[in-house]
């Protein structure tokens, strides 16, 4: 997933902790695997950095959640802290931010500093675009890299590479949340709506179950034509039903169908209920049945009929006991709720929510 827990997105790739402590005070072995010819030189040994006193991290005397940093990590960050303390605005500082980022791309303090330097040193933003393109390709599930790209695009006021770049990231992970967020921002900010529905259709052909694409479909249409016109609404309803016929157990298509109709009256779309009841014979699914409940509920709101209520309650029962038992508590709640709202008066001794009978006193009142 990309999103919230991506503060620890890397966590799922973390190797397990060692069973014994790794002390860092003493000398730690050089990592031969990544630098077999010992080409890398620590900043502490570089002549051109000799004027700067490194600043060790102030974890205090009894640290907690103490990370056993590699020698390289400590060295780079000791010098980063030194630069930050001085507020040094130099090319060597700029170069060091790239090293710090490579060691931990989630360090937002380093990214902020890099942006300060980009402006202070009047760095070439086209080159920065190339840099951030590479970084995102390597680490596409990180918040900071996408935010940085957005800043550079804003400074350049040039979105011309964005749709193609994002499409490339999506070709590797078609549900990358950050990528879709960036895409929506670019499209909205620079009014690049023209080809997006076509892009959506292409991706839905590749994977009709990609919910992110269904969301993008809704995003594009609601911000362009809208769903008010009967022509558009009908086109979308037909599109959904076609996708449902091809893949009846695709929850996204059913959710989209409900999503576009719910504020417009589900039962008001001509012939829809009949079409769905037809589909029930050959393309039944828990999603179809849930959609039926929603149609009946909508119908009841406009015209409370006993027969409609009974059908609704029946489908809820069917879902709760047979077809969607994982949601039993919900379907039974909905059933009780429908009964309460549309059924004969509640003061008739009907069972309470937890299956117990109301106290006798209450029954006498009815």
């Amino acid at each position: 997933m990309s999103g919230l827990e991506e503060t620890s997105n890397e966590s799922s790739e973390l190797k397990e902790d060692n069973d014994f402590d790794v002390e860092v005070e003493g000398h730690v072995e050089v990592d031969y695997a990544s630098d077999p010819f010992r080409l890398y030189m620590f900043y502490r040994d570089r002549k051109e950095w000799a004027d700067l006193e490194p600043v060790p991290q102030d974890d205090g005397p009894n640290p907690v959640v103490k990370i056993a940093y590699s020698e390289k990590f400590s060295d780079v960050y000791d010098y980063f802290r030194a630069l930050l303390k001085k507020d040094e605005r130099s090319d060597r500082a700029f170069a060091l931010t790239a090293e710090a980022i490579e060691l931990n791309a989630a360090n937002y303090t380093v990214w902020h500093y890099r942006r300060v330097l980009l402006q202070a040193l009047q760095k070439d933003l086209r080159e920065e675009m190339r840099y951030i393109t590479d970084i995102i390709e390597e680490q596409p599930k990180n918040y900071q890299v996408w935010h940085h790209r957005r800043m550079v695009v804003e400074w350049l006021n040039d979105p011309s590479e964005e749709l193609e770049f994002i499409a490339d990231i999506l070709s590797q992970d078609a549900k990358n949340y950050h990528a879709w967020q960036h895409r929506q921002w670019v499209i909205q900010e620079y009014k690049l709506w023209d080809n997006e529905l076509e892009f959506v259709e292409k991706l839905l052909e590749e994977d009709v179950r990609n919910n992110s694409v269904w969301n993008q479909r809704h995003f594009v249409i609601s911000h362009t034509t809208g769903y008010s016109s009967p022509a558009i609404l009908d086109r979308e309803v037909q599109y959904c039903l076609n996708q449902i016929r091809k893949a009846p157990h695709n929850e996204s298509a059913w959710n989209y169908l409900k999503g576009i109709l719910q504020d417009r009256g589900m039962s008001s779309h001509p012939g829809l209920l009949e079409q769905v009841l037809e589909l029930k014979e050959t393309h039944c699914s828990p999603y179809l049945l849930a959609f039926l409940v929603d149609c009946y509920e909508d119908a009841l709101e406009n015209n409370n009929q006993k027969e409609t209520l009974n059908r609704a309650l029946e489908v809820c029962e069917y879902l709760a006991q047979e077809k969607d038992t994982i949601r039993k508590e919900y379907w039974l709640f909905l059933q009780r709720s429908l009964e309460s709202r549309f059924g004969p008066s509640a003061a008739s001794g009907e069972p309470l929510a937890d299956g117990t009978e109301p106290p006798a006193g209450q029954q006498e009142l009815s």
Binding site: S8, D58, I67, I326, R327
Partner: protein
């Protein structure tokens, strides 16, 4: 494979009523290479050792979380409190002193000493300090500066950036509302227009996205909903649509929750998604809904407990996303938090437990808004509400608000 019902009965914990669906057990049998499903056991001792060690030392594989160290404190401390393992006073004091070093001179907490303040580690640090709950812990927080920090990240449209010069999404509103309410620095002005911004995040699916327009997602839905609950504005959401969306995120085979429609199950959503049900239950109750259950949340509590206990535990300690993934403290925290939600049903008057497996699997209850234990929430509120709400120095704020800071009565869950 069809499971003979006799086998199931011998495996099924006596305390739990038999469920009608066989498909869930079928999934678990495919997953677990044993003939009989064992009574699920929470590996308390192993998790305790993993957490105890991590609170002090972490391998270099945690370099990627070097800007999230208050999170590590919170994930570990919350896991320990759910397991009802006491924190030695010396350790607690060390955590306080470390978090004090993470506090920024301009207010708020950073991912590590010397870094810039950020709403996420601020949320984590305040929660961790409230879990510790000592005077020393509460005194670490510079409330006046914290308020300045919140103003400095407030946007004119009601949203918050995560840090100065950073990105906007609905997590920030939750982090801000959580720390402001716990430490009693909340004013109506601070959150002016925030509820309406959050509401824009609810989409056609019924859940909430990170920003308006985005796909509904469990983490963001939790943050937006919990923030609105804190601000007393949860009724502005389309609660029915949200309820339908979240209950649909429970996987019929795995029993756990997915983060988004048509994606895979992940143990962490045991909290982000299932944790919404207590919030919605309370919201419906406040609206006068008469048909709510008095014993159960509106998700399949047993199935979630089974998923967590049978599929999300590392035998060496720690919990995880799904089988085959490696353990980490984030998943340990949220799998255990979800397990607690699934075990405890609570209302203002009622508390009903449903413990899968032995009684020793029982965890402490957690507060569904803040995700720390309810006693710690009450204790923190009690402590900070004795203090005056600071007067905000808004010179560095994003916009120029005028007027005195007034007290604000915080909506308390279950009376605090």
């Amino acid at each position: 494979p069809v499971v003979p019902s006799g086998l199931l009965l011998c495996c099924r914990p006596a305390a739990v009523k038999p469920r009608a669906a066989m498909q869930h057990y079928r999934f678990l049998l495919i997953l677990l290479p044993c003939v009989c499903l064992p009574r699920p056991t929470l590996l308390r001792e192993q998790h305790y050792q993993y957490l105890k060690k991590g609170l002090r030392h972490l391998s270099d594989s945690y370099e990627c979380l070097d800007a999230s160290r208050p999170w590590l404190c919170y994930w570990i401390l919350h896991s320990l409190e759910l397991l009802e393992e006491p924190i030695p006073a010396a350790v607690a004091s060390d955590v306080c002193q470390f978090l004090a070093r993470c506090q920024s001179p301009t207010g708020g907490f950073a991912g590590g000493p010397g870094q810039h303040a950020h709403l996420a580690p601020t949320y984590a640090a305040v929660n961790a300090l409230c879990i510790i709950g000592t005077e020393e812990a509460y005194n670490v927080i510079d409330r006046e500066k914290l308020l300045d920090f919140l103003w400095s990240v407030k946007q004119p449209d009601g949203s918050f950036v995560m840090h100065v010069g950073g990105e906007v999404d609905v997590r920030s509103a939750y982090c801000a509302a959580s720390v402001a309410s716990l430490t009693n620095i909340l004013t109506p002005k601070l959150f002016e227009d925030t509820p309406s911004w959050i509401l824009r995040c609810q989409n056609w699916e019924g859940g909430l996205g990170g920003v308006p327009g985005l796909e509904a997602h469990g983490g963001y839905t939790f943050c937006g909903t919990a923030a609105l609950v804190i601000l007393g504005k949860e009724h502005m959401l389309d609660l029915k649509a949200l309820l339908r969306w979240v209950v649909s995120r429970q996987m019929r085979f795995e029993g756990g929750f997915q983060g988004r429609c048509n994606k895979l199950v992940d143990g962490c959503y045991s909290f982000w998604q299932a944790g919404l049900l207590p919030l919605l239950h309370r919201a419906f109750f406040k609206e006068g809904e008469s048909q709510l259950s008095r014993q159960r949340w509106m998700f399949e509590q047993q199935a979630l407990q089974e998923y967590i206990l049978l599929c999300c535990q590392n035998p060496a300690g720690g919990l995880l996303d799904k089988p085959g993934k490696s353990r980490d403290f984030y998943h340990t925290c949220y799998c255990l938090s979800g397990l607690s939600i699934a075990q405890h049903f609570g209302n203002v008057d009622l508390h009903h437990e449903l413990i899968l497996g032995k009684e020793e699997n029982r965890l402490a209850p957690t507060h569904p808004v803040y995700n720390i234990c309810p006693e710690k929430v009450a204790q923190a509120l009690q402590h900070f509400h004795q203090l005056p709400v600071p007067e905000a120095d808004q010179r560095h704020g994003a916009s120029s608000w005028v007027g005195p800071a007034t007290g604000f009565r915080v909506q308390m869950f279950n009376g605090g």
